[in-house]
């Protein structure tokens, strides 16, 4: 691809990008969120039209107007969010849209033969007769990969494939990728994780702000070199922790059991506590009961049994607004779904839940000046880069959206902050900034419950780490534990 240029209203997403991918290699495309990696690949895959530039495959210039063209040219893409039909089996999903058929009737024997042939050829096994929704994430992803391969993909684009995987599943994925490239498939691996790109790729192209910054052989690259190229400045991944002197207990959970829709006990007899001036990391692979636990704390879900005590007050039966009034801040796990209203402006978002407070309203009417002042304070105090406080949340980058949420919660100086996946999907600089906010909240003697599936984050920030596995807390680690110790607990291995 050469000279690729693409602008969206108000932004130049790609500014003359040239990249080259060799046959049979794993090419890492590294960059922060918003660097243009996904846009570039979407152009290659025909999802966007380019403004300028050209694409050649095997030396021949090609036109790609839509994803159909791209598939015809042997391209395949696996997106971050899967596109499987939940109630079809893996097999049905793989052949969907390319079903071998005779007189309009699906030829299942032929389909099975083709899929089996493919899986044994590339060595990717998937339980074919399970419904897609029942498959673990790693297998869902494999199904997506097989789907692309069945359509004759020779160049496979993987967009942040490990974002949803456990460390173990990531390892599996890497093994699959090696097997694929050994068979002649070319893989383009989009990521912003440095360690991954070093362990799986042959060459790395680093993008920043719509431009290619550098291309290098992986063997010549180090974490530092990559990190600097990616963020464009030295990143210091060290936070200043005040001496660990936890104060009184703010949150105390005893024998909590919470049920979920699908499995009976999402949280099973959990006990934990958070004190002033400490960050308690609750680590666990997603889906082990974190969401339900946090919802129970926030009054969004009623516990079956057990006690949740906030600052000495039993809150099991209190409403969310009563709990928030006990000086609790909550950074929910999904920015767009639970945190911000995307069609609201920044100033509308920062008063969410406080519109009735005398701080912002007089006799039921919002005082615009006060709302705007508060929004400006959040924007400036928490480094949100936005054209103004009337900008819609939708038009902010993920990092800035998250800063608005964290800012909203911290601006009220809560005694307890429950931060659920606060840096998921954020670029390096925003991640670091959000993490530093959590650390300074801790240093300011607030209690922080950090629920995260980013294990580096948990290890870096937490004073104590609790590991949640299948709804139970199966272990506690102190600061300074290694990722190995954590990894074992995460996988349910105790001792």
């Amino acid at each position: 691809m050469s000279g690729i240029r693409k602008s969206f209203p108000g932004v130049v997403a790609l500014d003359g990008v040239d990249i080259e991918v060799n046959k049979g290699e794993v090419m890492g495309l590294l960059g922060e969120n918003g660097a243009g990696k996904s846009t570039l690949m979407s152009i290659l895959f025909g999802l966007y039209n380019r403004d300028a530039g050209s694409i050649e495959i095997e030396g021949k210039p090609v036109t790609i107007k839509n994803s159909g063209d791209a598939i015809g040219l042997g391209l395949g893409m696996v997106h971050q969010s899967f596109t499987l039909v939940p109630n079809l089996t893996a097999m049905e999903n793989i052949i969907l849209g390319a079903e071998p058929s005779r007189a309009g009737v699906i030829d299942w024997r032929e389909a099975r033969r083709k899929v089996t042939e493919l899986t044994s050829q590339v060595g990717l096994e998937v339980p074919m007769n399970h419904q897609a929704e029942d498959l673990p994430t790693g297998f869902k992803q494999r199904t997506e990969i097989l789907k692309a391969l069945l359509r004759g993909a020779k160049i496979l684009i993987l967009d942040e494939p490990t974002a949803v995987l456990t460390p173990l599943e990531s390892e599996e994925l890497f093994r699959s990728i090696r097997r694929l490239t050994a068979g002649g498939t070319t893989v383009i691996f989009i990521t912003h994780k440095l360690k991954e790109v070093l362990s799986i790729t042959n060459r790395i192209t680093i993008m920043r702000r719509g431009k290619v910054i550098a291309t290098m052989e992986t063997k010549d690259a180090t974490v530092d070199v990559l990190a600097n190229a990616m963020v464009g400045r030295e990143i210091e991944r060290k936070f200043v922790f005040a001496e660990y002197q936890p104060g009184e207990t703010i949150l105390d959970i005893r024998n909590l059991t919470v049920s979920a829709l699908h499995n009976s006990h999402a949280v099973d007899n959990c006990s934990l506590s958070v004190r002033e001036g400490e960050i308690v990391g609750l680590a666990g692979v997603e889906g082990n009961g974190q969401s339900e636990l946090v919802e129970a704390i926030m009054g969004l879900r009623r516990p079956l049994s057990g006690e949740i005590t906030l600052r000495g007050k039993l809150v099991n039966e209190l409403s969310t607004s009563e709990i928030l009034k006990l000086s609790v801040g909550h950074v929910p796990e999904d920015r767009a779904l639970n945190g911000l209203i995307l069609d609201f402006s920044i100033s509308e978002n920062v008063i969410l839940g406080s519109a009735n407070r005398p701080t912002f309203s007089q006799r039921g009417v919002l005082v615009r000046g006060k709302v705007r002042d508060f929004a400006r304070r959040v924007v400036s105090a928490f480094n949100v880069s936005a054209a103004g406080v009337e900008v819609k949340a939708r038009n902010l980058s993920g990092g800035n959206q998250q800063k608005v949420i964290v800012g909203r919660e911290l601006a009220n100086e809560p005694r307890l902050l429950v931060a659920h996946q606060p840096t998921r999907g954020l670029d390096v600089a925003s991640t670091e900034y959000i993490q530093s906010l959590l650390v300074s909240a801790r240093n300011a003697k607030r209690g922080v419950l950090l629920v995260s599936a980013d294990f580096d984050e948990v290890l870096d920030l937490s004073d104590r780490i609790l590991v949640l596995y299948e709804g139970k807390i199966i272990g506690e680690l102190q600061r300074g534990s290694s990722i190995g110790e954590l990894g074992k607990l995460l996988g349910g291995v105790v001792g």
Binding site: E322, L342, G364
Partner: protein
């Protein structure tokens, strides 16, 4: 300004496309579109009677559009404007018949009572949706079928018995002290002014008050609102109460507008404006959709719909073609995406 224009353009485009399609339809039936349009607009705007009719329709259309769009902002569908208008109307009539009061107070109390019963009916659906998970779309429609005959029963067995009627029982005649004041020169009450003021008030309410803000927050992000301690259930019920009250107000307006000698019988017998989407309550939804759910927009689309409705009387036997055309316009207007796509205007989805 640009933002305002961007909001209005798709509606204008839809209107023109609808008129064009209507013209083609007329032409296909061997009619001269210009003659039909002339008759239509002349009927609505060219005579004092037509103008009065426009003003009368307008008050109902605007209020019923608000009755739909305010709950809509909270994410709940009030398709029960029809039933709420009937309950409100009959409540106002009952107050007038049974509780004589001094001038001014009389219509005022009747109007307030109508708002309360309208709100009450809407609240039933609001509560069922919020706390019992029964879609308000379904329950409001069902309650229309309860409210309408119930009102007719009261009308024929309670009111007509006690109040003089004229023109072969077409109209009930209420004492003029109980009716809303008429405006000079026109055969219409001040109701349309009230409707416009309510629409402006609704805009202010939604944009500037805490409750209005919470309503919008719940509509646009129920999960986000809930996780910040706003109870979406309560807010939805409140929004339905407001919507129902406005529909009830429209009903009181129909009944107490002195200018029209109290529609009552005509209203319930002929369904107010028979053939027009099966009633004004449903017309309100169309008015709101065309207004892109904006209260100020509802004033203008209310006027437009009133002109169409008032003008149909004067197009003679071509009335069915005009109705068809009105339908087409609504389809175009309610589907802004379609019409902007046609002209590639890059309009945005307007439903919020």
């Amino acid at each position: 300004m640009v933002r305002v224009l961007r909001g209005v353009v798709p509606s204008i485009v839809a209107l023109l496309l609808g008129l064009l399609a209507g013209s083609v339809l007329m032409w296909a039936f061997g009619l001269n579109p210009f003659n039909v349009f002339y008759a239509l607009f002349d009927g609505a705007l060219g005579t004092r009677y037509g103008q009065s009719t426009v003003l009368t329709y307008m008050s109902s259309y605007i209020l019923l559009a608000l009755a739909f769009l305010i709950p809509g902002k909270a994410g709940i569908w009030n398709v029960g404007g029809q039933g709420q208008v009937f309950i409100g109307g009959i409540t106002a009539a009952l107050v007038v018949v049974f509780i004589p009061m001094p001038i001014i107070l009389w219509p005022l109390v009747a109007v307030i009572a109508a708002c309360i019963t309208g709100a009450g009916l809407a609240a039933v659906s609001g509560i069922l949706e919020a706390y019992r998970n029964a879609s308000a779309i379904v329950t409001t429609i069902m309650l229309n079928y309860v409210a309408q005959p119930f009102s007719s029963l009261l009308l024929y067995y309670v009111i007509v018995e006690r109040v003089p009627t004229v023109a072969q029982n077409q109209y009930v005649v209420f004492p003029s002290a109980a009716t809303l004041p008429a405006i000079p020169f026109f055969n219409a009450s001040i109701m349309f002014i009230i409707a416009i003021l309510v629409a402006i008030g609704a805009k202010y309410f939604l944009q500037r008050t805490s409750l209005g803000y919470n309503i919008r927050a719940v509509g646009m992000g129920p999960k986000q609102a809930e996780s910040k301690g706003i109870n979406p259930k309560t807010i939805k019920v409140i929004a339905m109460l407001i919507g129902g009250a406005l529909a009830g107000l429209a009903g009181a307006g129909d009944v107490l507008s002195a200018g029209h000698g109290c529609y009552l019988v005509a209203c319930y017998q002929d369904n107010f404006a028979a053939g027009w989407f099966g009633g004004e309550g449903f017309a309100g939804i169309a008015v709101a959709l065309v207004a892109a759910n904006d209260p100020i927009g509802a004033i203008f689309s209310g006027i437009f719909f009133s002109i169409l409705a008032a003008g149909t009387a004067s197009v003679g036997q071509n009335i069915y073609v005009v109705w068809a055309m009105q339908g087409i316009i609504i389809v175009f207007m309610a589907a802004p995406y379609l019409s902007t796509k046609v002209l590639n205007l890059g309009g945005k989805k307007r439903w919020t």
